[in-house]
């Protein structure tokens, strides 16, 4: 029913681990559905004439879309028990309807934070062909495996 991989546990994750990439073929129908469902009707996201006045070749995907791709890459890998505690995105280039977008990431840190939460930090990029579209970082809280408490 769902797209995510099996749940990951904090003990089993290693710094440097590379996440399975997420590849999405976008199209115009999806771009319109995304604007309508998120209700971000800023002109550059739905009006080609306005987008061109802004110096863009066509309408471009909005911030929510970049955020969603980063969130999906992280949570599809880590599993639905995880909580996205922080996510930073820095957009470098626009993504247009029809682009084939690739999200890639790796684990940069595994630690217990000041509140006792078991956390991992991820470094993520979004790209289209050779064009870097976004640098991102995400912090997830990840459950502990209860295997340690189980008698061998």
């Amino acid at each position: 029913m769902t797209t995510e991989a099996p749940q990951r546990y904090w003990q089993d994750i290693e710094e440097g681990e590379v996440l399975p990439p997420l590849i999405m073929q976008t199209d115009l129908k999806q771009a319109i559905a995304h604007v309508a469902s998120g209700r971000d009707f800023m002109g550059g996201h739905y009006d080609p004439t306005y987008a061109r006045e802004q110096g863009q070749p066509d309408i471009y995907f909005n911030t929510f879309f970049y955020q969603s791709l980063v969130d999906r890459l992280a949570l599809d890998w880590a599993g639905p028990d995880c909580f996205l505690a922080r996510r930073k995105i820095s957009m470098r280039a626009s993504i247009y309807a029809g682009d084939l977008v690739k999200a890639e990431g790796r684990v940069t840190r595994r630690y217990v934070n000041d509140h006792g939460k078991h956390a991992v930090e991820l470094e993520v990029t979004l790209g289209v062909g050779g064009r870097l579209c976004c640098n991102a970082n995400a912090t997830l809280y990840i459950p502990l495996s209860d295997l340690a408490a189980t008698p061998a």
Partner: protein, 183 residues
């Protein structure tokens, strides 16, 4: 100060000096008119092909979160107004649009979002923004303008902080408009 309408949003036009005087100021609290709800979550998830069980599997969501939750990227969606009402309503004026600056064209640059707890189906979100910084005038491939840094605090109906988001938006005059073409 002059206001102009850019794809539905009121944008205030002014000088960098006027904008600087607003640094540190807060917006009025703004309350989302729609409850966080599952049909809109599903519609959004289908547009980004997000199959996370937290949005699709009721038993899982109940066990893990006490009910369905919102995808993190929908945070600001819950504050955005419907495009039309049959009665007069207040108008959402995001801080980045309300700041008086020469450029009227917006493009978002970066966001840094901390989530303190899940946004849940049934929540009503409100938010308050503060203007943190205005950059000096900058030129980039799109045009000439200023980077506006704001921080927004999102609260639920119990007045609990659910998220805090620092955002940078570039308000600019496109290069094509600066090459003489009066509009």
């Amino acid at each position: 100060m002059e206001q102009t309408r850019v794809s539905g949003f009121l944008v205030t036009i002014g000088t960098e000096e006027e904008a600087r005087k607003m640094i540190g100021s807060h917006s009025e609290p703004w309350e989302g008119e729609l409850e966080v709800n599952l049909p809109m979550i599903r519609y959004y998830c289908s547009s980004v092909q997000d199959g996370n069980s937290s949005y699709w599997d009721e038993d899982f969501a109940q066990r893990q979160w006490g009910g369905f939750i919102s995808p993190p990227a929908m945070l600001f969606s819950w504050l955005l107004p419907l495009g039309w009402h049959p009665y007069p309503t207040a108008e959402l004026e995001p801080m980045a649009m309300k700041v008086p600056l020469p450029g009227s064209s917006p493009i978002n640059i970066s966001s840094d979002t901390e989530f303190l707890q899940p946004v849940r189906v049934g929540d009503r979100l409100s938010f308050i923004e503060q203007l943190l910084d205005i950059s000096p005038e900058k030129t980039n491939p799109l045009g000439v303008g200023h980077f506006i840094t704001t921080v927004g605090e999102y609260r639920n109906q119990h007045d609990e902080l659910v998220a805090r988001e620092t955002n940078i938006l570039f308000r600019f005059t496109p290069h094509s408009d600066q090459e003489g073409a009066a509009q």
